[in-house]
Amino acid sequence: MIDYDRAMQATRRSILIGSARLAVGAGLVSLVGTIPARATPQTMRDAIREAVGDAPLRTGRVTLDIPSLVENGNTVPLTVAVDSPMTESDHVKTIHIFNEKNPQPHVITIALGPRAGKARVATRIKLADTQQVVAIAAMSDGSLWTASADVIVTIAACIEDVN
């Protein structure tokens, strides 16, 4: 039902249309523009650009639920939900999760559609250090929405491989 590659291509096309609108839009945030203030590593920006294109993103509609303080970065519960009716004409096509300090910035990409009923997905991720996690949702109308969260990872005091 879902052709992942086609969905990705469609997303990229939609971004071009979206960015033209964004130039005059109000209340829109360019992720690429906001990130440098947070000193986000270049690798995450590159990965986001590769996944969703160079378009600015809007903040909102995406809820990223992740604990702000985790006891061990090896297993961090994460839930992402997108405000969408999930109908044939108006639904979430893909959700991407990125991080800025793991060896690889990409965490997971989820392809879904109207048959999901609701756009809410939970998983567990690894975070190598205290850092920002970013979720991006690509909608069927071509719009891109984002949310981010800062996570403080408690460094394990006694690690098994110390010797």
Binding site: P67, L69, E71, N74, I155, V162, N163
Partner: protein
């Protein structure tokens, strides 16, 4: 300082459960499982069987329980029937004294004794997936039950020996288990709260390990952290420590398979 000195001084006099209890360090009302020191997300992961990763091992153990093994071609179920009834409360009583061996055995050793003697199969290695799975499955049948090491006079010397190890300073850092878990629980070691070291949920899924592990593995972790030479798996020292810790945790509920940071 005085309290620590007295504990050591009392040890040689310990003659029974009552005197062991007199020397208890954390009052009963203040005893708390490690799960009370962890964050809500980790607790939620533990408390829901559909999200608790330890349940993967429990399911494996359930299959192993029914599988015929060894020269005797017998399964655990052939002798014990339904684990839900026959194993109910068993893990809460271990380690327990074994008359033939003249010493306490932990649940892992008990399972391996069944394999050798009843199934005529080779014992499962410590920390093997198969042994963890069976232990987790048996342990799961006691979830919610109060830890109740038997009041068995034959175990008193072993409880006392475990306590002596618990309170002995060891390693390059010259710390004892008691330095942290009796005297400083609730405080922060770097960012992490120091729990009371009650083995309520073993085998436990530790996020740090990213897998299920035994109490002996956890004890070895702490020894390595103290820069001490850990006791080898299956040694009397480890079983004595397990027994002392279970005695010390009596009354707390079993949470197997627990999830811990």
């Amino acid at each position: 300082m005085t309290a620590a000195f007295l504990r050591v001084a009392i040890l040689p006099l310990v003659a029974g459960f009552a005197s062991l209890a007199l020397a208890a360090d954390i009052p009963t009302a203040e005893r708390r499982s490690g799960s009370e020191f962890m964050g809500p997300e980790t607790r939620a992961m533990q408390d829901d069987d559909t999200t608790n990763p330890g349940m993967l091992w429990v399911l494996d153990g359930e299959a192993a329980w029914r599988r015929r093994e060894g020269a005797a071609d017998k399964s655990c179920a052939d002798c014990h029937g339904y684990a839900q009834t026959s194993m109910n409360g068993v893990a809460a009583r271990y380690p327990a004294f074994d008359a033939a061996k003249g010493r306490p055995v932990d649940l892992e050793e008990r399972i391996n004794m069944c394999r050798s003697e009843q199934q005529k199969a080779t014992p499962l290695p410590f920390e093997s997936q198969a042994l963890l799975a069976l232990t987790a499955y048996v342990g799961r049948q006691s979830r919610g039950q109060a830890i109740a090491v038997a009041d068995d006079a034959r175990t008193y010397p072993f409880i006392a020996a475990g306590r002596e190890i618990f309170e002995r300073r060891q390693g390059q850092l010259d710390l004892s288990c008691a330095s942290c878990h009796d005297d400083n629980w609730g405080k922060k070691l770097a960012g992490a709260p120091v729990p009371q070291a009650h083995p309520t949920g073993y085998p436990t899924y530790r996020l740090e390990w990213q897998t299920l592990g035994s109490l002996q593995r956890r004890l070895r972790n702490c020894m390595i952290g103290m820069r001490a030479e850990p006791y080898a798996y299956g040694t009397a020292e480890n079983v004595d420590l397990e027994l002392y810790l279970m005695w010390r945790a009596r009354g707390l509920a079993i949470e197997t398979p627990a999830v811990r940071p």
